[in-house]
């Protein structure tokens, strides 16, 4: 099990009799980008919810920088440096894009500092520019397209200066050009030491971005390898396509 930033050990989650996560264990190091993959219903989003405190686990242990964060509230986990985005980001009607992005900076701030006047700084403008949101910065955030909302949610999470960023399908609905930009931006943050755990179906994005992939199927980890090794993994191929396929005839 790699990683000393995030470590999961035997983490389980069930909804009634249905086991969604069955004693999964994996880890992440600082500055590492890991893809969390699997077919629909394999438990990826549940794993993200459990790690980020949005769902309680039924068993096992989750540690972030050595601190036990198992079943700690989402807000407290964010205080440890773990920030996440959602599969279907919903944005406020009565806050501008700029304000939402600014709100990303104060989540763990003290009350005294939050009451002081603030200024939209250069870093905010850079994020808007990087994610091509400058021209919509003063529109209500809810007025953005689905893809732009995804971009805003990733930008807002980055604005909170995370140590570990968990992204739930960040490229769904995003234009291919912007997807390439997102790879560049996320790699830039990786180089600054930010670890990224990304749930994604877009294999091209995963190949360009991730150094490692953890593949889930029916709540179990069936592979933990480099992206290029996925198509040679019979269990992964079977999980995605439903049957064993002759080697060399699949492109995941």
């Amino acid at each position: 099990m790699a990683g000393n930033l995030l470590e999961l050990k035997d983490v389980s989650k069930a909804f009634g009799a249905h086991k969604v996560l069955d004693r999964i264990s994996f880890g992440l190091s600082a500055g590492e980008i890991v893809g969390l993959l699997g077919p629909n219903g394999s438990g990826k989003s549940t794993a993200l919810n459990v790690i980020s405190g949005f769902l309680p686990s039924d068993g096992g242990e989750i540690r972030l920088e050595g601190d036990n964060i198992t079943n700690v509230s989402a807000q407290r986990i964010t205080g440890h440096g773990l920030v996440r985005t959602f599969q279907l980001p919903s944005m406020p009607h009565r806050m501008t894009v700029r304000e939402v992005l600014q709100a990303g900076a104060s989540g763990n701030a003290s009350l005294a500092s939050m009451l002081k006047p603030f200024r939209f700084d250069d870093e905010l403008d850079e994020l808007l520019e990087s994610f091509r949101l400058t021209h919509v910065a003063d529109l209500p955030a809810s007025a953005l397209s689905g893809g732009q909302k995804k971009l805003l949610s990733v930008a807002t999470a980055l604005r909170s200066k995370p140590k570990l960023l968990c992204l739930d399908e960040p490229t769904a609905g995003v234009h291919p050009n912007l997807r390439a930009d997102m790879v560049t931006i996320l790699k830039r943050y990786r180089d600054k030491g930010v670890a990224i755990l990304v749930v994604e179906h877009d294999m091209l994005f995963i190949r360009e971005l991730c150094s490692r992939c953890v593949v889930l199927d029916r709540g179990e980890i069936i592979a933990d390898c480099a992206p290029r090794e996925l198509e040679d993994n019979a269990r992964v191929v079977e999980a995605y396509l439903g049957k064993a396929v002759e080697k060399g005839k699949v492109a995941l």
Partner: protein, 296 residues
């Protein structure tokens, strides 16, 4: 007629302060409080208790604010377990329990008879005392407005709005929603109690009939008609509603309508006004300005 105008404007100022308090809760933070009048009552009974105990009248202000802070924190605590709709019902219930308890308690609150004989502010300045009081209320209203504006335009104001609209996003960014709820309830409760303290020393009488739930809905109508989450709007709503209701008797006299008309017309102004605005202009006369934070 001029004295009557001064009187209506004075009450409108105090309602304006109360509307600003509700606007912090419901307008900016999404805390649908139907028990606002109990927080106001903490201020009125703080003043009455200080008077009844023979304390200096000004001591009624910290007493009222302290009681309102405790009640506000209790409301906030309930919000940890209850969703928005149920929280609103709970606050209405608590306000009614408090009013009924006061009505049936004699030793401290005077029961249904209330407590009278509170000192009137600036009574020694006759015949200009009414104007002096109005000047004080205008200054208080302006200061509370400035404070509320500063609060909602700060980074904390952004967190209030984020909690109102996207609590899940707020949690994912590390915002402690319980803390936001506590702070907003503490601050707005103190403001409501301040309005109550001034109101008690204006009427020189405090009684449980001032704490009936329609009073809360009157303040709600001021906020909705003026403009939810617009501090200038809710003050305009307070003045509009107060003047509209105060001048109903004059309309009755001019049109030679029966006396029953006054009560019915006031009900129609509040209920009908609320309904009309909710249906046709839900953002109120002065809608919230999107992007109005202090950042630039």
């Amino acid at each position: 007629m001029f004295d009557f105008f001064i009187h209506v404007a004075s009450i409108a100022c105090l309602y304006g302060v109360l509307a600003l308090s509700l606007n912090l809760q419901a307008g900016f933070t999404g805390l649908v409080n139907f028990g606002l009048i109990a927080l106001f009552g903490c201020g009125t009974y703080g003043a009455a208790l200080a008077s009844g105990m023979g304390w200096h009248p000004l001591l009624g202000l910290p007493a009222g604010i302290a009681m309102a802070a405790l009640l506000g924190l209790f409301y906030a605590r309930l919000g940890r377990k209850l969703s928005s709709d149920y929280w609103g019902i709970a606050t209405l219930s608590i306000a009614e329990i408090i009013r009924i308890s006061i009505t049936n308690e004699q030793a401290l609150t005077g029961g249904a008879q209330g407590i009278s004989g509170l000192p009137l502010l600036f009574a020694g300045l006759k015949p200009y005392d009414g104007m002096a009081r109005l000047a004080l209320y205008v200054v208080v209203l302006a200061l509370v407005w400035l404070f509320c504006q500063r609060l909602v335009k700060s980074a904390f104001g952004l967190s209030m709005k984020l909690m109102r609209e996207e609590p899940q996003l707020a949690r994912s960014l590390g915002y402690d929603l319980d803390r936001i709820r506590r702070v907003v309830m503490l601050v707005s409760s103190a403001i409501a109690a301040f309005a109550g303290f001034l109101y008690a020393h204006y009427l020189t009488f405090v009684g449980p009939d001032q704490l009936v739930s329609p009073e809360t809905f009157l303040i709600w109508s001021m906020v909705i008609i003026g403009g939810v989450a617009n501090n200038r709007g809710v003050i305009a709503g307070a003045f509009l509603m107060q003047f509209a209701m105060a001048y109903v008797p004059f309309i009755k006299d001019a049109l030679e309508l029966p006396t029953d008309f006054v009560a019915a017309a006031r009900l129609i102004i509040v209920g009908g006004g609320l309904l009309a605005f909710l249906l046709w202009r839900p953002k109120g006369l002065f809608p919230e300005k999107v992007g109005g934070s202090n950042g630039r």
